[in-house]
C-alpha cells in the first residue's frame, strides 16, 4: 500500500484510512461480506494507535495496521454481513462517525457499526472532537452497581460530609452532559477521573449523606434530668464472660468486689451496687434508677433466671441511666420480642414497664407485646416509678449514638462514686475522645427535646450502625440479625466506655484522657509499637470528619442524633 503522507498536521488514523480507501484498489472478490470482525479489529487498533502520539512510530504502525486490516478485510469471509457493504464503505462510515467504543467491549463496537450510517451526519462534529480521549466504557461499573443497590437501598440517615457533597454535585452536573450525548457512546468517554464515582452515588443513595442539621439543645433541662433521677439499686447480672455458668446474683458480693477496684471509694450499698450493675451489663431491665428495693428484688429473681442463660439485652436497658427507664425498656422490649423465649420473665417485666412508654413509643410491635404481658409481673410497681420518671425528664435526652450509651452510665456511676459534680467535665472530655477513637460515621446532631419517644435516641444510633453493617454485608439481612447486631454493638460500646472509665480511675484521674484511649487501643491491638495513635487518626479521620466532630466534642456532651 502506498501511503503518501503530507507532512502537515499530524497524520491521524482517520486521514490514513481515508488515504487508504482512496488509493487502495477495490478488492472485489469478497465485497459483499461485511467484515464485522475486521471492523472490530480496526477499531481496536485505532485506539491503540492513536494513543501513541509520536509520528514516526505511529505512521509505521498505522501503515502496518491499516495494511493488515485492509488485507484482513479483503480476506476475511466474515459471517453475517449486516448490509450490502464493502469494507470500504464500512471504513468510511467508521471514519466519519468516529466510533470510540472501547477495546474492552466488542459488543458495543458491533452495535456501533450499523448505527454510524444512520447517525453519521449528526455525529460528525462531535465525533471529531471526542476522538482524542479514549477511555474504557463505564458499563462494567454500572452493572455492578445495581447488584449493590439492594442492600444499600435504605439509608436516609447517612450523612454527607461537605467533601462528599461536593462530589455529588459534581456528578450531578455531569449528568446532563451525559444525557445529552446519550445516543452516542462518546459521552461516557469524556469522563474525568471523578466520573466513575457517579454511578455509585447515583445508584446507591444509601451512601449519600445529608449535611448535619444542628438544633438547639436545652442543656439546662438535660443536666437537671440527670441530677433528678435517683440512684437505684440494681440486681446485678452476670456478664457473658463470667466463668461460672450458674453463679448466683452477686448482689452481696459484687459491691464489695467493685469497692475494691481502683475507683474512688463508693459510699453506701446503693452506690456500690450502682457500679456493680453498670458493670454487669444488665441490671435487670434497667430499672436501676427509679425502682425501690422491692421491685428490684422481684427483678433480681427474674434476673437470676436470665443469668444462667446469659441473655444480653438487659444490657441495653442499663444504658439509659438517668434518662429514665423508659427508653431502655422500650428498646429492650423491642429486642425482647424477637429474642429467645429463655428470658420470658425479664421480658415480661420489661414489657410491663414498656407500657409506660407506650404512650410515646413508636414501635407498634412493642404495643402489641405490651398488651399481652400487661397484667403480669410487677406491672403496678412498674407503673408508679415509671410515672415519676416520666415526669422527671420531659425534655433533654441523651441521644448521641455512641456517646449517650456511655455517658449517662458514666455520669451515673460518677455520681454514685463521687458526690462532687464531676460529670460535666468528665463527660465533656469523653465525647472528644470517643469520636476520635471510633470512626466518625455519624456526626451526632442535636434534637428538639421532647419531640421524640424516648427509646429512639439509643436505638437510633445503634440502628445506624446496624444498617451500615447490613450494607457492608452485601446481602439482605433478617430483622432478627439486625437486632442481634445492635445488641452486640451496644454491649461492645458499653464495655468500651466502662474500660475507659476504669483506665482513668486506674491512673487516679476522674477524666478520661487520650492516654486512656491509647491504652484501650493498644489492648485492642490497633495501636502497636509500629502504629501509633496519630497514625490511626490520620488514616481514618480525614479533616472533613474531624471538622464535623469538633463541634460535637465541644458541645459539652449535649449531642443528639437526628431521626
Amino acid at each position: 500500500m502506498a501511503d503518501n503522507f503530507s507532512p502537515d498536521s499530524e497524520p491521524t488514523t482517520r486521514t490514513l484510512l481515508r488515504r487508504v480507501l482512496d488509493t487502495a484498489d477495490p478488492r472485489t472478490p469478497r465485497r459483499a461480506r461485511s467484515t464485522r470482525s475486521g471492523a472490530q479489529r480496526d477499531l481496536l487498533e485505532t485506539p491503540s494507535t492513536r494513543r501513541q502520539r509520536s509520528q514516526t512510530k505511529m505512521t509505521a504502525r498505522r501503515r502496518s495496521h491499516t495494511a493488515a486490516s485492509v488485507d484482513r478485510l479483503a480476506r476475511i469471509q466474515a459471517s453475517g454481513h449486516l448490509e450490502e457493504q464493502t469494507p470500504r464503505t464500512l471504513l468510511k462510515n467508521i471514519i466519519l462517525t468516529a466510533p470510540e467504543s472501547s477495546i474492552v467491549k466488542p459488543e458495543a463496537v458491533v452495535k456501533l457499526v450499523p448505527s454510524p450510517q444512520v447517525v453519521q451526519h449528526t455525529r460528525r462534529e462531535s465525533s471529531r472532537g471526542s476522538l482524542e480521549l479514549q477511555l474504557p466504557e463505564l458499563e462494567p461499573p454500572t452493572t455492578l452497581a445495581p447488584g449493590l443497590l439492594a442492600p444499600g437501598r435504605r439509608k436516609q440517615r447517612l450523612r454527607l460530609s461537605e467533601f462528599q457533597q461536593g462530589m455529588d454535585w459534581g456528578h450531578l452536573s455531569q449528568e446532563p452532559r451525559e444525557n445529552a450525548d446519550a445516543s452516542s457512546l462518546t459521552s461516557s468517554l469524556n469522563l474525568t477521573f471523578a466520573m466513575p464515582l457517579q454511578p455509585q452515588s447515583v445508584k446507591r443513595p444509601g451512601l449519600a449523606r445529608r449535611p448535619p442539621t444542628r438544633r438547639v439543645v436545652d442543656v439546662g433541662t438535660f443536666l437537671q434530668d440527670l441530677r433528678d433521677t435517683s440512684l437505684a439499686v440494681a440486681p446485678p447480672d452476670t456478664v457473658l464472660e463470667d466463668t461460672q455458668p450458674f453463679s448466683q446474683p452477686l448482689a452481696g458480693h459484687s459491691p464489695s468486689v467493685h469497692h475494691s477496684l481502683p475507683c474512688p471509694s463508693p459510699s453506701g450499698a446503693k452506690e456500690v451496687e450502682g457500679p456493680a450493675s453498670r458493670r454487669t451489663w444488665s441490671s435487670g431491665p434497667g430499672l436501676q434508677n427509679n425502682r425501690p428495693g422491692k421491685p428490684a428484688q422481684l427483678l433480681a429473681r427474674k434476673v437470676e433466671e436470665v443469668e444462667a442463660l446469659a441473655v444480653g439485652f438487659p444490657n441495653i436497658s442499663s444504658i439509659s441511666g438517668e434518662d429514665g427507664v423508659e427508653p431502655l425498656q422500650n428498646g429492650v422490649g423491642e429486642e425482647a420480642e424477637e429474642s429467645m423465649e429463655e428470658s420470658m420473665s425479664v421480658r415480661e417485666v420489661e414489657k410491663a414497664a414498656e407500657e409506660q412508654g407506650s404512650a410515646r413509643a413508636e414501635e407498634p410491635e412493642g404495643h402489641t407485646e405490651v398488651a399481652e404481658a400487661a397484667g403480669s409481673l410487677g406491672s403496678i410497681e412498674a407503673k408508679e416509678p415509671e410515672g415519676s420518671s416520666e415526669d422527671e425528664d420531659p425534655s433533654g435526652r441523651l441521644a448521641s449514638p455512641k456517646l449517650a450509651p456511655s455517658t449517662p452510665e458514666f455520669l451515673r456511676t460518677r455520681r454514685l462514686q463521687s458526690p462532687e459534680p464531676a460529670p460535666p467535665p468528665s463527660t465533656a472530655v469523653l465525647p472528644s475522645e470517643l469520636p476520635k477513637r471510633l470512626s466518625a460515621r455519624i456526626p451526632p446532631r442535636p434534637r428538639i427535646p421532647g419531640s421524640r419517644p424516648r427509646q429512639d435516641p439509643y436505638k437510633a444510633g445503634l440502628n445506624h450502625y446496624a444498617k451500615l453493617f447490613s450494607f457492608y454485608a452485601k446481602m439482605p439481612m433478617e430483622k432478627k440479625a439486625v437486632e442481634m447486631v445492635e445488641k452486640c454493638l451496644d454491649k461492645y460500646f458499653q464495655h468500651l466506655c466502662d474500660d475507659l472509665e476504669v483506665f482513668a480511675a486506674h491512673a487516679g484521674r476522674k477524666t478520661v484522657s487520650p492516654e486512656d484511649l491509647e491504652l484501650l487501643l493498644r489492648r485492642q491491638g490497633l495501636v502497636s509499637d509500629q502504629v501509633s495513635l496519630h497514625v490511626l487518626v490520620e488514616r481514618h479521620l480525614p479533616l472533613e470528619y474531624r471538622q464535623l466532630l469538633i463541634p460535637c466534642a465541644f458541645s459539652g456532651n449535649s449531642v443528639f442524633p437526628t431521626q
Binding site: 456478664v239 463470667d242 459484687s254 468486689v257 477496684l261 458493670r279 483506665f503 486506674h506 489492648r523
Partner: protein, 131 residues
C-alpha cells in the same frame, strides 16, 4: 541468643503443658470424664498465649499508672472481666493485706515488749544497784 530464647520458650511451654496435664487429670478423676491429648495441648497453648497477653497488659497498666512496678491494682484491673475471678482475687488481696497488718502489729508488739523488758531490766538493774 535467639536460640537460647527459643529453648527457654520451649521449656516454659513444656512446663505449662505439664501443669495443665496434671490439672486435667485431677478434673477428670473428679468428674469421671477423660481428657484427650489434643484437648490438653490446646488448653496449654491457649494458656501460654494468654499468659503472654496478661504480662503485656500488666506492664501497660503499670505504665499507665506511671509506676514501674506491677501492683495488685493492675492485677485487679486485668481480672475485671470475670466476676468470680475478680471476687476471688480481691478476697485474697484482702486476706494478704490483713496478714500483713497482723504481722506488723505483732512486730510492733514484740518491739514494745522488748523495749519494756529492757526498760524493766534496766530499772531492776538500777534498783538492784541502788540496793
Amino acid at each position: 541468643k535467639e536460640e537460647d530464647v527459643l529453648i527457654l520458650l520451649q521449656r516454659l511451654k513444656a512446663a505449662v503443658h505439664y501443669t495443665v496435664g496434671c490439672l486435667c487429670e485431677e478434673v477428670s478423676s473428679d468428674k469421671d470424664m477423660q481428657f484427650s491429648k489434643q484437648t490438653i495441648a490446646a488448653i496449654s497453648e491457649v494458656t501460654f498465649g494468654q499468659c503472654e497477653n496478661f504480662a503485656k497488659d500488666l506492664e501497660m497498666f503499670a505504665r499507665h499508672a506511671k509506676r514501674s512496678t506491677v501492683n495488685t491494682e493492675d492485677v485487679k484491673l486485668l481480672a475485671r472481666r470475670s466476676h468470680s475471678l475478680l471476687k476471688y482475687i480481691t478476697e485474697k488481696n484482702e486476706d494478704i493485706a490483713q496478714l500483713n497488718l497482723e504481722r506488723k502489729a505483732k512486730k510492733k508488739k514484740k518491739l514494745e515488749d522488748e523495749n519494756r523488758n529492757s526498760v524493766e531490766l534496766a530499772e531492776a538493774g538500777v534498783e538492784e544497784s541502788e540496793n
